[in-house]
């Protein structure tokens, strides 16, 4: 009997792992505040992204409320933990809309969650502002007019890297992407652009999400005699891969290229990540006066340097505030949409423009390299090349480039 109990118990427990544990964080009520809802990830492996969104909200909230709020009303953020599950994300978003009365949702972490929530927005008549979600489909196949993407999308990041590699001396590449939509799509799109640049993709592999030992893949990449390896792995998987690749001495032979170069990865991997190149949706080292000042304020509040989604979320909120001022309302969603479409905004890293046709923000793209810099306690992304928005943004409502 013991054996059957063991198996039975294992199965029950496995189901429980999948369901996970939700919890709620709320801020104090203020008088007639503008409420912004974040169905975001605050527990589990992807909590680092929810934490970034939250840090940006905290800084923005403090600053905007000190200036008297938006349209004279204070701004309040309501955080809900989705546990990185699309069904929970929809449920939490619905609660934010129906119970708290928010008109603006933001902070969705996984593209799968954003796709699920975005699909409900036309029915709820609320705006979902993405500052994190990468999937190209959100502003293409699955576009609806209640969804706005302020951040650089996945295909846009891949485009920036490809533009850089087309001019680099490397000729042979290996593509390693996590075995789900983002990983496979990005590797496919990268391969197409590499081939178009008359270079060679010598191998492709798709390790499952959560792989803890990449040794087999490392052996294969070495065998392929590639000069560069394009990595599309989510946070922790990327950290583990880079750490192990360094231990195997692979990074001396093969240049790691990442679709997104994140500070979180850099801090966890450390020196072993120096030399990695890739794109960054927001490298905090961008040298604009506005960004220099932002980095200073952010560091003063949180004691760390802003990562990609700290910057992108802050930009989204600032832009949204500008749009609400212009529309003269924080409640009339239709007026906000109209005011946002075809509007411009001066972001931290350069000019932004919200395309009316698909609600994708046109913005500069960056190729960066991780370098050591004595001014910072950890290696940082150094900008190798900046591409203007029109070169890195896909054709309207597609994931293709001219």
């Amino acid at each position: 009997m013991r054996r059957r109990e063991f198996l039975k118990a294992g199965m029950v427990g496995g189901t429980a792992v999948a369901v996970g544990g939700p919890f709620v964080l709320r801020q104090a009520d203020a008088q007639n505040p503008i409420k912004i809802g974040l169905p975001t990830v605050l527990s589990g492996g992807n909590a680092q992204y929810g934490t970034q969104a939250k840090r940006a909200c905290q800084l923005f909230g403090k600053e905007v409320n000190a200036r008297g709020g938006i349209l004279g009303r204070p701004v309040e953020f309501i955080y809900e933990d989705t546990g990185a599950d699309p069904a929970t994300a929809v449920r939490k978003a619905q609660k934010l809309v129906e119970k708290d009365g928010v008109k603006i949702l933001t902070g969705t972490v996984l593209s799968s969650e954003a796709l699920a929530v975005s699909a409900k927005c036309p029915e709820w008549k609320v705006i979902l502002m993405s500052t994190i979600n990468g999937a190209g489909a959100l502003t293409a196949k699955s576009y609806n007019r209640y969804f706005f993407r302020v951040n650089t999308s996945g295909p846009m990041g891949a485009r920036a890297v490809s533009l850089y590699l087309a001019e680099a001396p490397m000729k042979r590449f290996f593509g390693l992407g996590s075995d789900y939509a983002w990983g496979r799509d990005s590797v496919a799109s990268f391969s197409a652009q590499i081939v178009a640049a008359k270079k060679e993709v010598v191998g492709r592999d798709y390790p499952p999400v959560g792989t803890k030992d990449f040794a087999s893949y490392i052996g294969k990449i070495r065998q392929s005699r590639a000069e560069g390896c394009y990595l599309v792995l989510p946070g922790q998987d990327a950290t583990i891969f880079l750490k192990q690749a360094h231990q195997f001495g692979l990074t001396r032979e093969v240049k790691p290229i990442m679709e997104i170069v994140e500070l979180e990865n850099i801090k966890a991997v450390g020196e072993a990540m120096v030399g990695t190149i890739g794109s960054s949706r927001y490298p905090f080292t961008v040298d604009t006066p506005k960004n220099r000042d932002f980095v200073k304020r952010f560091h003063a509040m949180h004691g760390v340097y802003p990562d990609m989604f700290d910057g992108e979320t802050y930009e989204g909120l600032e832009w949204l505030a500008q749009v609400m001022q212009k529309a003269g309302t924080a409640d009339d969603v239709e007026k906000i949409i109209a005011a946002w479409e075809d509007s411009s905004y001066e972001g931290l890293e350069g000019p932004f423009f919200m395309r009316k046709c698909d609600h994708q923000a046109v913005q500069p793209g960056f190729a960066v390299e991780v370098v050591k810099d004595p001014a910072y306690p950890h290696p940082v992304p150094k900008i190798l090349a900046t591409y203007p928005g029109d070169r890195v943004t896909p054709k309207c409502r597609t994931e293709e480039f001219v």
């Binding site: 013991r2 544990g21 589990g44 803890k212 030992d213 052996g219 750490k243 192990q244 966890a268």
Partner: protein, 286 residues
Amino acid sequence: MAIFVEQLLNALALAGLLFLVSAGLSLVFGILRVVNFAHGVFYMLGAYLGFTTVAVSGWFWPALLVVPPVVGVVGALLEASTLRFIYRRPPIYQLLLTFGLALILEESVRVLYGPTAKGIDPPPLLEGAIGIAGTLYPRYRLFLIVLSLAVGAAVWLFLQKTRSGLVIRAVAQNSEMADCLGADIARVRTWVFGAACALAGLGGVAAAPMTTAYLGMGIGVIVDAFVVVVIGGLGSIPGSMAGSLIVGAAQTWGAYYLPETAMVIMYAVMGAILIFRPWGLFGEEE
């Protein structure tokens, strides 16, 4: 040839880690009859405490010595303060309890350490790679293989050759009879639970330089460990070793030759075992 040797070493290193975790899981089930869902979290706890110890002392070796006993004590205290009171209830109670403990511990680690992965560097002695059979192989992974073999041998000898080991085996075989013969069952349970947690903690410290310490590493490893225990047989140390080797080999070679089906292979082996030898390779038929 180089590829074969490299993949063989990869399989052994991965099996070593799996063994450190699954041995404890198997032992706890053998003695306590509890499926300990929190077991993976002790592995994670080991990795994070290892990170702290290395950060404070600047050395790797003390972490390897200090962390396992600390994790063991945490485990023993939790057993004595919670699990002890519900052994007589149906198994679902124990499962819910250990699962609850897993969630509490995991979220506590998140609150204390933040959501970011924490990297540990291998000690200088084991830094870098050496040439073996025409390929570069990381020294640290070789160390992992040696460490897990040594620990496996020590645990097996302890169970087979010492008086305490005899008592533990007696309790595993028939706890009521052992009770009648004067064994202090409650104490044996607490010690075994603590020792199993210490083993998982050791696994965590040892894994950290290879995988970093990250949230969710416990849940990832516990799934593999369950498969190992099912394949090897419940409560058997040699079984855990054999199961770890099979799962390690399936994952490593699978990822190399049949990357699309690497996961399937492991579960296919488990399925085959369940059909043809449901008590596991080294388990005892009931």
